[in-house]
Symmetry: C2
Subunit: 327 residues, 2 copies
DNA sequence: GATAAATGTGTAACCGGTTCCAGATAAAGG
DNA sequence: CCTTTATCTGGAACCGGTTACACATTTATC
């Protein structure tokens, strides 16, 4: 039905092999022949069938991307970074949301392999990493890390520390740290790092657990001010939770940042738009995605990588949910 | 390298054809043979190569999804609806962000075709629709509509009207309607619908243009209260813009909802978490995505569809950015 | 028990590309 | 001018599945 390479060959009065050579700029092709072929391609509006090509060459222009949940605004930012970079390079993306479920991750991984993807970018937890370790195609970890694989991630330890330092610096005396799911490594790391620093400072620390989702967050946070009525500083495990906390604070009649200061993590787009603006630790999500794509392409092209782990810097973004120095 | 159907055949002592028949439950296969094949598959951990399969059958388990920008939280919700439904059915997604650019849309479309996707779900504007009209594979429009194609979308006219009615009912006397890009059909429709109703009501109406993105929104909205100082009600073209407006109001010292009421559109996840909560017109995004997927699968399976256009209901979600009746 | 119908299985062609190889022609070298 | 080398091109095999078809073997029918 669709126009094939043999149609083009016929139209140009050559063989399929020649057309293939022209298309791929491989082997010899006389200038006149080349022109004839190109004309025929143009005229017939021929587009090579990637499936056929991929079957023989065992490599496609597809790349697999596994993310926990694009409903969490941090991940679309990553995804766009990946996609924009890859598009430039002519690659396309098969995306799968895993909801952190091993089963779904494996499912998508199978799909990727079955479709001859040429590389994979994955944001999955170390505990689920076995399946990734001995794939024959390049894998780059994104946001999460696995010992033996290249990874792009933000500096969680620094981020956690920074958040803790800032909230102390800005005057909080009893800090509640909201801890996300411990399985989610980066989230746990930032927690530990904050916790340690606060502990060293010798102040009162409370810990509260929370989901990372919009629905989970507002629920988890409901007990916060009952459990820890004297808390005057909150470190949230991500910005979604932080916004939920701001809300809860309001509901309980505590003003932000006068009564409680709040610092989030991620710096997703809404963090700037909420009221007051959310002070947070910024992860350069888009850049992380782009960087992961860049590295993956390099590996696909067999380039040797000197550095395997790419730790991108985080940054404290000061907005209205924390006090100004000297307040 | 990977295990092929002929490896399985050898292991089971049969021919490749037989293995294929067993896998696909097509044609005859003796119970004993079937068992032997299944065992071999199990033992070798054989996974059929989708690429080879797709080359012959001309149909894959891939579906193409074109969205404007997953960075806008409305679209991930759609995407998850689509994905979750399709996963159940064994289909996988190639996703592309178009940024509403014709070139990128065409680019992804080509990719889809070249990869033998079996169907396409697209959220693109009617102006760019020519390329979709005579594809040989099923296409379902999502959020946007095109005359001749099946579509799933929310009732924009009702939504626009509803927003206008509510803001009047709740007492605003001079309403500013923020209009998004006119090329984005649903956004324009809701604007027109709101505008008409307000006009009929005979009140003062102002119109302000805005981008739909986070960055664009806060910028566009900066002049609002200077241009229209007496505005006491705002209909935003989407929730992102609405949140930006809430912020701007705060910055200008106008309290929401006492001085200005604000109604958004979409009901994205943060709308519930901002402060005050954003009253808005809810589009059932996730359901829309799922529905589109459902319809696409039906078309892929050659089922006849009675209804082509699926208009899903919208709903007014009352939160803190509007006053209560009787205030 | 002979014939017809239903089962069971393998061979080979096919999907649409790519590439190896061999043969033909053109350019270069002595 | 003849050999060597470089350039150009097509035939055929291949990638890993699916399926049309032929043939063999059971099972059903009378």
């Amino acid at each position: 039905m669709a126009v094939t390479i043999r149609d083009v060959a016929k139209a140009a009065g050559v063989s399929a092999a020649t057309v293939s050579r022209v298309i791929n700029n491989s082997g010899y092709a006389h200038e006149d022949t080349r022109k004839a072929v190109l004309d025929a391609i143009q005229k017939l509006n021929y587009k090579p069938n990637e499936v056929a090509r991929s079957l023989y060459t065992q490599r496609s222009k597809l790349i697999g991307l596994i993310l926990p949940d694009i409903t969490n605004p941090f991940f679309p930012a990553l995804a766009r970074g990946v996609e924009d970079w890859l598009r430039e390079e002519g690659y396309r993306l098969i995306i799968g949301n895993s909801d952190e479920q091993l089963e779904q991750e494996m499912d998508y991984l199978d799909t990727f392999i079955q479709h001859n993807v040429v590389g994979i970018i994955a944001s999955i937890n170390e505990a689920h990493s076995d399946m990734l370790k001995d794939l024959k195609i390049p894998v780059v970890m994104l946001d999460r890390t696995i010992e033996s694989l290249p990874a792009v991630y933000a500096d969680q330890l620094e981020g956690g520390k920074l958040a803790a330092e800032k909230i102390l610096e800005l005057g909080s005396k009893e800090v509640t740290v909201i801890r996300g799911p411990v399985e989610v490594r980066p989230v746990y790391q930032r927690f530990v790092s904050s916790f340690q620093l606060l502990k060293q400072a010798g102040i009162k620390i409370n810990v509260l657990d929370s989901e990372l989702t919009f629905e989970g967050a507002s629920e988890s946070v409901k007990t916060l001010f009952d459990k820890y009525p004297n808390t005057d500083g909150i470190l949230a495990c991500n910005d979604i939770v932080a916004v939920a906390v701001m809300n809860e604070a309001e509901r309980k009649g505590r003003s932000v940042p006068e009564d409680v200061q709040i610092i989030g993590f991620d710096d997703i787009s809404i963090s700037e738009l909420v009221n007051p603006g959310l002070s947070t630790i910024r992860q350069p999500a888009y850049e992380m995605g782009a960087r992961a794509a860049e590295i993956l392409i390099k590996k696909v092209n067999q380039e040797v990588l000197t550095d395997i782990h790419h730790k991108l810097p985080v940054q404290f973004i000061e907005r209205g949910s924390t006090r100004k120095v000297g307040d």
